[in-house]
């Protein structure tokens, strides 16, 4: 179909203008982190006169950023591994067997897709308190794992169902038991789905700040998003350092995204339009 040159240019203008709007604030954040406070306040839009890392040094000296970072890594990695293992086991059971309660069990997991888990925060807080997990990274791991299970079971069950039965039969004839069929035969075949589940839950766990806000008080136990909360609370006026904190917080995820942007975009939308 022919589109007039004028309409075409408008389309380009529209698309690229919003591309610019999407990126520019992030660009500004990174650039500002290399400027001095005086520079930021006098000329917020200009490029830095010289690239300085002073703000990063003072950030390092002011807050335990290394702790924040490793806490985030620990919480996200352990949560994702647990979600992958638990959900895959459950999905295998739901998709490859037909016990009479399987329909009910699947429905029970699906209910989780409708529940806004943050609304259970008061009982959850008291539960964590009873378990002695307040101020512990395990409180975050448990809630991330529990919250990630419904969508993950849903996605993985769908994938397990698509695999041909013959594979499984052949494996069983060769003497594989249930776990071997699961681990050695079927699991490698749903690797793309595992990737999707990994991405969805990793982003969720890495970026979450609601649960750390409620469960974690001590600075050295905070994840990056929670750490930003204390940074902004204490050093309101040191903009150069604040921008450095934001940049350092955003950078790991941006780098991972640039390395695998296609998988990220497909993964995050998979839950919605599968």
């Amino acid at each position: 179909m022919k589109t007039s040159v004028g309409a075409r240019s408008l389309q380009y203008l529209f698309a690229y203008l919003f591309g610019l709007i999407a990126i520019y604030p992030i660009f500004l954040m990174i650039v500002s982190s290399f400027k001095t406070n005086a520079e930021i306040l006098a000329a917020p839009l200009s490029l830095p006169a010289s690239f300085g890392f002073e703000s990063y040094v003072s950030l390092w000296e002011s807050v335990p950023f290394a702790d924040f970072f490793w806490n985030s890594v620990f919480v996200s990695v352990v949560s994702v591994l647990l979600i992958l293992l638990f959900s895959a086991l459950a999905a295998f059971y739901l998709a490859r067997y037909s016990f009479k309660w399987n329909g009910l069990l699947y429905f029970f997991f699906l209910i989780g897709l409708m529940i806004p888990i943050k609304l259970g925060i008061v009982p959850l807080f008291l539960l964590m308190k009873q378990l002695g997990l307040l101020n512990s990274l395990w409180s975050l791991i448990l809630i991330n794992t529990a919250g990630g299970i419904p969508i993950s079971v849903f996605i993985l069950t769908g994938f397990f169902r698509t695999l041909p039965v013959q594979l499984e039969e052949a494996a069983r004839i060769d003497g594989c038991n249930d776990f071997q069929v699961f681990w050695r035969v079927l699991l490698p075949l749903i690797r793309p789905a595992l990737g999707t589940v990994m991405i969805i839950n990793f982003i969720q766990a890495w970026n979450d700040f609601f649960f750390p806000l409620i469960f974690i008080q001590e600075d050295v136990k905070k994840t990056i998003p929670a750490g930003m909360l204390s940074l902004f609370g204490e050093y309101e006026t040191d903009w150069s350092m604040l921008f450095a904190g934001l940049t350092l917080s955003a950078l790991p995820m941006i780098i991972v995204f640039l390395l695998a942007s296609k998988q990220f975009m497909e993964g995050l939308t998979a839950g919605a339009v599968k």
């Binding site: 309409a7 389309q11 698309a15 690229y16 591309g19 999407a22 604030p25 500004l28 954040m29 930021i40 306040l41 839009l45 086991l89 459950a90 295998f92 059971y93 490859r96 067997y97 037909s98 029970f108 997991f109 897709l113 409708m114 529940i115 806004p116 888990i117 609304l119 259970g120 925060i121 008061v122 009982p123 959850l124 448990l142 794992t145 529990a146 919250g147 299970i149 419904p150 039965v165 499984e168 039969e169 069983r172 004839i173 982003i203 700040f209 609601f210 409620i214 930003m228 909360l229 934001l246 995820m253 941006i254 995204f257 942007s261 990220f264 975009m265 939308t269 919605a272 339009v273 599968k274």
Partner: protein
């Protein structure tokens, strides 16, 4: 299913004593999920029916908490004020975020140079933690030293410069627009997936019949992307009624200025964890009652989405 049963039976015959082990497979997922998702929500329901003093439970109160929430000042006022903002949130997101996102998805669908880079660019903000988004924009929107007002001055639009987050007339809208900035890339991808699932032949046939761009869009494309529009509407609704983090990051638990950015979830947080000033101390009974109401608003709408997802699953 039949094949599978046979396979299971055959396996069962070969190792009869180990058969029960399979039932351990769903157990870890089930336990964690039941303990940390189902149990807390269920407890919130029961909490809402009791009197509370601080964090200790007193006598059974029936529906008194709900009655208080709707009839006693300032609780009822705050409720209606907050739910109104949730609705505004939903409507503005639908029009601005989803409207623009659909336009962008359509332009990409009609082929544009650099579409891969554009998609990634739109999506980039979605990767940031909401707290980072909130703090970053707070710096950008600072009335004295922020980049936005500097940019407006630069463009000769000084008159437009204002304390975006400090003015009750603009604060809510500003936050919603930032949320649009955050979520637009996701919406583009959802719409694009919908557009790309339209059979090529159908569009081609309509073109050969001489359908103009606009007719094509209205008669063929729009009806066929309705499923993705529905999904996006539901997701936007859920998001709008759960709106908390961005507001908390930018305007605190009071929904400043003058509660002009208060939403149900922020109000809930205030009741449950007793933000400074506000209604005073924690009110777990009232907070739980509010969470039950919010639960039913969100769950009823997301039940529709789960229903749609399952229907689609069956069709495949």
């Amino acid at each position: 299913m039949n094949h599978m049963q046979k396979a299971t039976e055959r396996a069962g015959r070969s190792k009869p004593r180990r058969r029960w082990l399979i039932h351990l497979f769903p157990l870890p997922a089930l336990l964690v999920y039941a303990a940390f998702v189902i149990y807390p929500i269920f407890s919130a329901f029961t909490y809402s029916l009791y009197d509370w003093e601080g964090i200790s439970r007193k006598g059974f109160a029936g529906f008194q908490n709900f009655v208080t929430l709707f009839t006693v000042e300032p609780f009822n006022e705050m409720f209606w004020n907050a739910i109104k903002h949730n609705l505004v949130y939903f409507i503005v997101e639908m029009v601005v975020q989803n409207g623009i996102a659909f336009g962008l998805a359509y332009v990409i669908y009609r082929k544009i140079r650099g579409s891969g880079v554009l998609k990634a660019a739109y999506f980039l903000p979605r990767l940031l933690s909401v707290i980072i988004v909130g703090f970053l924009w707070k710096l950008i929107l600072n009335p004295n030293f922020g980049a936005l007002n500097a940019l407006l001055t630069h463009l000769g639009l000084e008159a437009w410069a204002r304390p975006w987050l400090g003015d009750p007339n603009t604060a809510l809208m500003t936050i919603i627009l930032i949320n649009c900035w955050f979520g637009i890339g996701f919406a583009v991808l959802i719409f694009l997936a919908g557009l790309q699932s339209i059979p090529e032949e159908l569009v081609e046939a309509a073109r050969l019949d001489g359908a103009s761009g606009l007719t094509l869009l209205r008669k063929i494309i729009l009806p066929l992307v309705m499923p993705s529009v529905t999904i996006m509407t539901i997701l936007t609704f859920i998001q709008a009624f759960e709106a908390f983090e961005l507001i908390y990051a930018m305007e605190g638990s009071q929904g400043e200025p003058f509660r002009s950015t208060d939403t149900l979830a922020v109000y809930f947080y205030r009741l449950a964890f007793g933000g400074p000033s506000g209604t005073g101390s924690v009110a777990i009974g009232l907070g739980s009652a509010l969470s039950v109401i919010l639960f039913f608003i969100v769950a009823s709408v997301s039940a529709i989405s789960v229903f749609l997802l399952r229907k689609k699953e069956i069709q495949h």
